[in-house]
Amino acid sequence: MNRDRNLDELIGADTTGAERERLQRAHDMLLEAGPPPELSPKLEEGPTLGMTLQRRRAVKRRAMLLLAATLAIVGVFLAGYAVANRGGSSPSAVKSLALEGTVVAPNAQATLEVWQSNADNWPMTLTAVGLPPLPEHRYYEVYLVRHGKPWGACGAFRAPENPQQPVTVTLTAPYTLRKGDSWVVTRPGTGAAEPGKTVLRPAPVTA
């Protein structure tokens, strides 16, 4: 329990006059405010992906309308294409995502394309560039993000020695995907001293 504090005990009795009154006000406010709360490890880590994945409602609504219109056009086009090319079709991505490097890998960028599923196995193609190579036996990991948090592993890969050389890998999300799902790429940590870090996350949608 805190002891009663008086200003003289804390700073001595040398300060007088207006300066003393200023310090007394700050002292009183400190006593009134009480200690700052102790943060949980989760809050200490910094902002979460979920904080920045949410968009303004109006923008989201417009984006959803645009997406619906785009999907309708694509649907019509695909239907026509399928009719015109019966028996021979090439796959098309059902979702494309641009990823940008975090402060951990600021020069990295990537695209992720999710293809039509087969029994809730969603094949994905990730093409990344600018990722620094990792030590032997260490891998970048791709995670499905749900509700702002890494939710399910989708695969791992290694980056080339030359970060400027793009790497393309095929992965799978063996989950039932939901609206709002997203993906991040993480770098492994080295234990408690250095936890794993997100190196690629969805780039903000520009209006």
Binding site: R25, M29, L43
Partner: protein
Amino acid sequence: MRKDKGDMELAIEVPQPRLRAVPSEPVQHPVDDSPSDAQLLARVGERDREAFEILYGRYVRPVFGLALRRLGDRGHAEDAVQEAFAAIWRSASTYRPERGAAGGWLYTVARNAIVDRLRRMGPTVDAELPELASVEPGPAQRAEDSDVAWRVHRALEDLQPREREVIELAYWSGMSQSEVAQYLHLPLGTVKTRTRSALARLASMLEGEL
């Protein structure tokens, strides 16, 4: 008779406070050359994640403290922090410096997010009215307390780590200044001087708009 240091260490049982890490080397004061809250908000409005992380570092304790006082539950308060910062990210571009200080704008956005969560939590009080008048502070007093705590906790973030450490020890560790001096291995006079210097800087920050 004056005791030597070894005797003192045996004689006083010093409580071990939980403090944030303090760098071993003195650091430059961050206020003068670091971006203002208003500048950071403008950058966040342009989706600058680095600016958002700096802003988060400055405000996570005040926001969490505010949420804890209003919600009274750490789990709900943590969720409210998430929602408050998500709201700040979404709305930063609407901030207009000419309409007021960034600290006030952030306080309003955070408070609204916390109130939204409070509403979603639903009524938590018993239906029966108490027979005696409550001695708890009323809404107005609680709001004022929240405002003071918000401003003080925000200002603490701008102190040098060594100044913040001595303030936390002096005010909330339960130690006397002699015990603080022993804990920090510093002369008592240095601890008092550092406390006075930290208080003076806090006073300057609290007198101005945050």
